[in-house]
């Protein structure tokens, strides 16, 4: 049990680091141009959408991992 929980914590940490890498490399340099005053707003909206998608993917991965790591424990 305990090793499973420590493992789950560790995997969550790795996923946070990896997610940060994706955010910095993809979201960081991303910008939209050609829409005048709306450039900043459109860029922000698109960045927000990508970030939300990443968070959803992160939650889905965690859900799968939870079921895999705790398959013995979760018989509830």
């Amino acid at each position: 049990m305990k090793i499973g929980l420590f493992g789950f914590l560790f995997v969550m940490w790795i996923l946070i680091l990896a997610g940060g890498g994706i955010l910095v490399t993809i979201l960081g340099p991303f910008s939209i141009s050609g829409y005048g005053d709306f450039d900043l707003l459109l860029t922000s909206i698109l960045k927000a959408i990508i970030a939300i998608i990443l968070v959803i993917v992160w939650i889905l991965i965690l859900s799968k991992l939870k079921n895999w790591i705790f398959k013995k424990e979760i018989k509830f």
């Binding site: 929980l5 789950f8 969550m12 940490w13 910095v24 960045k47 927000a48 939870k66 509830f76």
Partner: protein, 329 residues
Amino acid sequence: MAELIIPAIVSCIVAFFTVYVTTPPLIKFLQKRNLAVKDMNKKDHVMVVRPGGPSIIAGIITSELVLYGFFQINEILAIIITSFIAFVIGYVDDRKVMGGWFKPVALVIASTPIIFLGTYDSNLSFPLFGTVQIPALYLGLIIFMIPITGNTINSIDVLNGVASGFMIIASFSLSIALFILQNYEIAIISLPLGFVSLAFYKYHKIPSKIFPGDSGALTLGAMYGAIAIVGHVEIIAAVALLPAIINSFLFLSSMKRIVEHRQIKGKPVEHTEDFKLKATSDKTAPITLVRLILASGPLSEKQVGYAIFKLTIFSGILAIITAFMRVLI
């Protein structure tokens, strides 16, 4: 650096002793007014008073005001006001049972002082990879962060001493991370949180003489979130908080909605004959951190608490490693 030592020491002493001295009279006051709840994990009929939030907020406000006397920076005001609003929201929930959505929604208000005082930096820093500028998205992050940290600490307040003990480890880990990042002023501002939790733990540890209640737990969580934002250590703070985040994640992913504990019919944990805690096989009950810890067999309340503390120490170490990784950038 040397000029910061005196404010640090004075504020830590004030934080610790304000809570240490005000909690016993608060316990007596609450006993007189019969504001007590049954401790469900005790064999005998034990009543424990609540909430301990008033002494916790007193410790936070006095110590942070002392620090404000040394350095007049808006970050301190943002932390004080955010913590106080969270305390008021928690106190309302302590006195009157509110719906499951009340605390998360109301805590959005607690995040507004950080925005209005401009005590944030919209550059989100990640270890190893650097920073990403997300001005609009960051405002959303602030609005979400305080409700998340507040409710996350509240959700782990399930056994004697766990919320305050957890907060001691997480907040000191965050303070160490801030020192590593040479963000000395915010590191010192963050220290009272650990000392307030330490003093409260004296009365909250098993067997509890007082419970923090929603007002106490939300105050601790909101202050933690506010420090994370004003100190620009959001990711590190999230790592130190991982066991509580796991608890909330397991709870939400099994219940599929935001719901108050008291509204849940199925029990995740039951008691053995010798009153140890044991995981149930109830399919309608939420999966929680405590339930997973107990999956391998019954444990005493104290043993479960220590298991949570071990996980918190592990995540605290990961948070400190994360801080070192940020220094490498």
